[in-house]
Symmetry: C2
Subunit: 448 residues, 2 copies
């Protein structure tokens, strides 16, 4: 497995590069948002408000403590948009490069680049990934922006200028799974309008599949040749979208505050849109404060699972969970190996998945504990909020502005941890290699 490859020109400590880049972008964004020109009201925004908004934007989360439409000026909103774009582009390229770097180092077969025989990641690879992400981003965002602009102009009496600004902002916010919107009630005015909700859904799903999957889909549409990662990601995406839509549509079917007033097709559209959001875009076309407990609980689970690796989605990633699912399948069938789509998933990957999932649970429970201590808000809403922050979703039952300054710092920490934690954890873990000469004798505690 090429243990002797010592020439890695780009990454030495990939995890550090990523964390530093995001912290720097967040800091710059905070300073810019504190400028008086960014704020619509008098003076500049307070530090905590600017920090929270910049972190939420650069981590493409979308939680807000102020009304994006009313609190910020157009230059302020443009800063938010730039932070979203930098954050989304950054996480997509860096995560892809880390995956590429690790697969080379591990000697794993990869289809990410044509030059699969070279063993180290060179500048050529970096250029190829940057160009690929850039092209996909520009193409998808432009197409969605055009569709949205036409719709806003045609149906909502916007001027061409306003329609174009709204179209661009929401296309970028959707593709990067950010969930920021330029309306005071997010997208609640558009529940029932498929010409707004569907393009946004499409942008969210494409961004959330992740760069490695997109590249493979662009290269070939022969499912037989897809890598295990692509198959698992697509399978889980379809399962969660279909299952989520059915569940949420049924849970809100008769709720007068959400889907109640709509005809069956409108209900299905609304259910679909809110099944897309937890993976992990965070727009809302209804008020989650009046959604049913079933919807909130189902949404919490969908948010925690999240989207695809090395894309703009957050959460613990679909592959993490489907690997654990196949562990159960192997266990129940009595197989020695964990098998998925005729591929053996090795213990290393299984252990990474366990580690990421359990530490994710710990982060969400820990954050919930601290916020429960800091505030008197209902447990259900706090759990929803911390999951939303950690999975960088941005959905809220409406408690974000009530959570107080210390609570906002907790959410900032969760957003940062959720955005960078899993990827840096896995890369750090995968780079560690420690072979013990001596194997301890076996012990077998009773389980269950």
């Amino acid at each position: 497995m090429s243990p002797g490859s010592r020439r890695e020109p780009f990454f030495r400590h990939p995890a550090q590069v990523v964390a530093f880049a995001f912290a720097a972008a967040g800091a710059i964004g905070t300073v810019l948002l504190m400028l008086p020109t960014s704020r619509a009201g008098e003076g500049g925004a307070p530090f905590v408000t600017a920090l929270f908004t910049a972190t939420s934007a650069v981590c493409v989360t979308g939680l807000t403590v102020v009304d994006t439409a009313a609190y910020w000026t157009v230059p302020g909103q443009a800063i938010i948009l730039a932070l979203i774009q930098v954050g989304g582009f950054g996480i997509m390229t860096l995560a892809s490069l880390i995956a590429l770097f690790l697969s080379r180092r591990m000697g794993l077969r990869t289809r990410l680049t044509a030059a699969a025989e070279t063993r180290s990641v060179g500048l050529g690879d970096v250029r190829r990934v940057l160009r690929g992400v850039f092209l996909i981003t520009v193409v998808v965002e432009s197409a969605i922006a055009v569709v949205l602009t036409l719709r806003f102009r045609a149906e909502y009496d916007d001027t061409w200028g306003t329609a174009a600004w709204h179209g661009l902002f929401h296309a970028v916010s959707a593709f990067n799974n950010a969930g920021f919107a330029l309306f005071s009630d997010n997208l609640m005015g558009f529940l029932g309008d498929g010409f707004v909700l569907m393009p946004i859904s499409v942008a969210i799903i494409i961004g959330g599949l992740g760069f490695p999957v997109l590249m493979e889909l662009l290269r070939t549409r022969q499912p037989r040749t897809w890598s295990l990662h692509t198959r698992l990601t697509l399978l889980m995406t379809v399962v969660l979208l279909v299952g989520g839509t059915a569940f949420i549509t049924l849970a809100e079917w008769g709720n007068p505050g959400t889907l109640g007033p709509f005809d069956p097709l409108g209900k299905l559209l609304g259910g679909w849109f809110h099944a897309v959001q937890p993976r992990t875009a965070g727009f809302n076309a209804w008020d989650y404060g009046v959604a049913t407990d079933e919807t909130l609980l189902g949404t919490i689970m969908l948010m925690f699972i999240g989207g695809g690796s090395a894309g703009t989605a957050g959460g613990l990633k679909v592959t993490t969970f489907i690997v654990l699912f196949f562990v159960i399948v192997a266990e129940v069938r009595g197989d020695d190996d964990v098998i998925a789509f005729d591929r053996r998933i090795e213990h290393r990957v299984v252990r990474q998945a366990i580690t990421v999932a359990l530490l994710g649970v710990a982060a969400v429970i820990g954050g919930t504990m601290v916020l429960t201590e800091l505030t008197d808000l209902p447990f259900r809403d706090v759990l929803f909020e911390t999951t939303s922050a950690f999975a960088t979703v941005g959905l809220s039952t409406g408690i974000t502005p009530k959570i107080g300054d210390p609570g906002q710092f907790v959410l900032v920490a969760l957003m940062f941890l959720g955005r960078l934690g899993p990827i840096t954890l896995v890369s750090a873990l995968a780079l560690r290699e420690r072979n013990r000469r001596y194997r301890y004798p076996e012990g077998a505690p009773l389980i269950g």
Copy 2:
């Protein structure tokens, strides 16, 4: 690993034996509790009430839909006591025998019996386990019953007869981790009385360690010679008791409805007692309906983890969780093997632990979903209730009687599943042996 041993005189399908025995005991108990002599009021108890109470007793859970002290006659209470004793003795012996059977079959070293060289479980082993469990049960229950009887007689103006009946009932209920009490407010009259709370705590902890651990502790007090299972169980028990006491004491320190009125020592006693209950006894000396959100959340986690394997405790068992913890440690340290106390935990055990933990999460979430759908009760209380039922704890925020007949069936199913699920699952899994000749090529999806 002795594949040819075909002489298992006692167990052919251990999981079926256990499930059948518990269902039968529950059915008999239901019929007996429906008799008019069992009920204090007019007529016999309704079917659902009898079924719920009998299941709760035989699964040693302790959830109640009626006031045990007022609703049932002394003969009715004696039936409940008998069901608790049958259930506790049954699960302890059957789980121990299954563990013994599996360890023999797997060729693992075991210290449960002296005759470690024989490979199949014979009648001699069965007799040895039955006698061991019987002796431990009688000795612990008698000792605790005497202490409680003296205290009830001395301090609470009971007659000798009442004191003895109360002493016996609560000793049996404690050792078997059942949580049933003969006072309308459970043990709320005894918050602050260490002479009642401490003996009960001791009985709970001993019963919850599990028979294999108790046997090993009785055989030798040389920690060096303890099995990995015993070390892990003791470590987790101490960690959870100390950590749980600190957490709950602090969370309730100033709560006027719970620890507020007591001096620091009384607060510590109350915190300790309610840190013991989630593992998984289910007595309460305060009203969980007025406990803080922190306490409820912490208690949910403790309940889910539960106690030791092959004892009277419920939950997913402490070893299940500490194995997952050591997986994270191994992953973070970059070790190839999962190591605990200089023993290598093999992948088979790790996969069992993942399977049990994830299916447990699925059961609790599923139950919570259904109950949320069936009732309008707060999410927090429903999650507490389903965890309590599944982990056979019996703590409640007070919603059990309000949950309705369909909801009671859900809780009955959760209690049964929680009592028998993990153990039968693991035994069924461990008995499957399927070696594939052909190994699939490796695939490595991205994680996180």
